[in-house]
Subunit: 236 residues, 2 copies
Amino acid sequence: MMTRLLGVLGGMGPLASAHFMTRLTLLTEASQDQDHVPAILWSDPRIPDRSAALRGDGPDPLPALMRGVDGLRQAGCGAIVMPCNTAHAWHQAMAERAGVPFLHIADATADALRKVAPPPCVVGVMGTAATLAMRLYQDRLSAQGWEVITPDEAEMARLVTPAIASVKANRVAEAFAPLAEAANLLGQRGARAVVLGCTEIPLGIQAGPQDQLHVPLVDTIDALACAARDWARQAG
Amino acid sequence: MMTRLLGVLGGMGPLASAHFMTRLTLLTEASQDQDHVPAILWSDPRIPDRSAALRGDGPDPLPALMRGVDGLRQAGCGAIVMPCNTAHAWHQAMAERAGVPFLHIADATADALRKVAPPPCVVGVMGTAATLAMRLYQDRLSAQGWEVITPDEAEMARLVTPAIASVKANRVAEAFAPLAEAANLLGQRGARAVVLGCTEIPLGIQAGPQDQLHVPLVDTIDALACAARDWARQAG
């Protein structure tokens, strides 16, 4: 039985954090309830909009994020994860406050990537324009030996950005063809694998014929769930 | 923006509580993250097996359940729900400890039932043999004016029990026909609606042609999510 208690800072959005809890459960080998990861999900959808704040166009979410960190610590959590790409812009300050491991989604992704495309090699990263501009994945993956490429501006405008909007509007099947094209274009430019650094992209890319995808894909929410599970499994 | 913080005592099993968080989100009208219910999910799969304890065949889960209640209260939750039918055997002791509203899954079900089959009338309840033996739904629904009928022993043995086992074994589609037959038999015996008092039954019954169901169904996890959402919406 696992003795470590995982903290999940969520609510950004609440559907993504519920999905994370589902994936954490499904990715844990278990034959009974008692084999699963003990976890507390702090789902606070009131946290101010992260994208608006990054654009300088809304209140700072950091105080609300810090309240979540404090709440998870007070509940006895021994590590924290945050299934939201954009909120990782505040990761460093939160990790310092936490005083326990705060697993970074890009480091979890690197661990998953190492299994399918070990460095040194070229990998692709897809995400919203905001996530790519933050260099959330590029900097951490480059530091660990990968050469990172991303869709160019024309591909973002023609393929990725409209496909993400389709998924958000529940037109999931429409998103498959443009996302598959964008991933395959990264493959043609040399990517040995492509990171799906956004919660909407995996939903779109699962909604079509998988044999049209010519490059291995890494889902960052699954990567974070695996890293959390592996932390929980260690004795402690 | 909602100011009330909901506590969710889960992990029994962890997939059911992740599903509850998903349904809570989808059943809340929202146009942005900030419109959703702030909630803390205390997912503790280490809680000893409830069915085994009820059979007198395993450790008492109450101390672990009480730790969850205390943790949710310390985190500031103003009400508690528990998306697990069997654990409601310990509801009264937990509600006394909580000192805040602890919404009962059968009362939430009564609220949902009132909309489709207001009392006095006959309603059916399907569930595991253990849940039916606990009279979890029968007593509370009878007290509120419904006459409650359940599948007879032969129907449990031939239809409901094997169908629940099929769902647990991931053979979801196979469960549809027997569950639909059991629900329709309750309808033929006069039930104006049928309560699906088990987390597996709704999964099986959604996996087939819905026009073969001749009686309205009430999903208890959805009913609990609606009751939780309605509590959170009140000013507080």
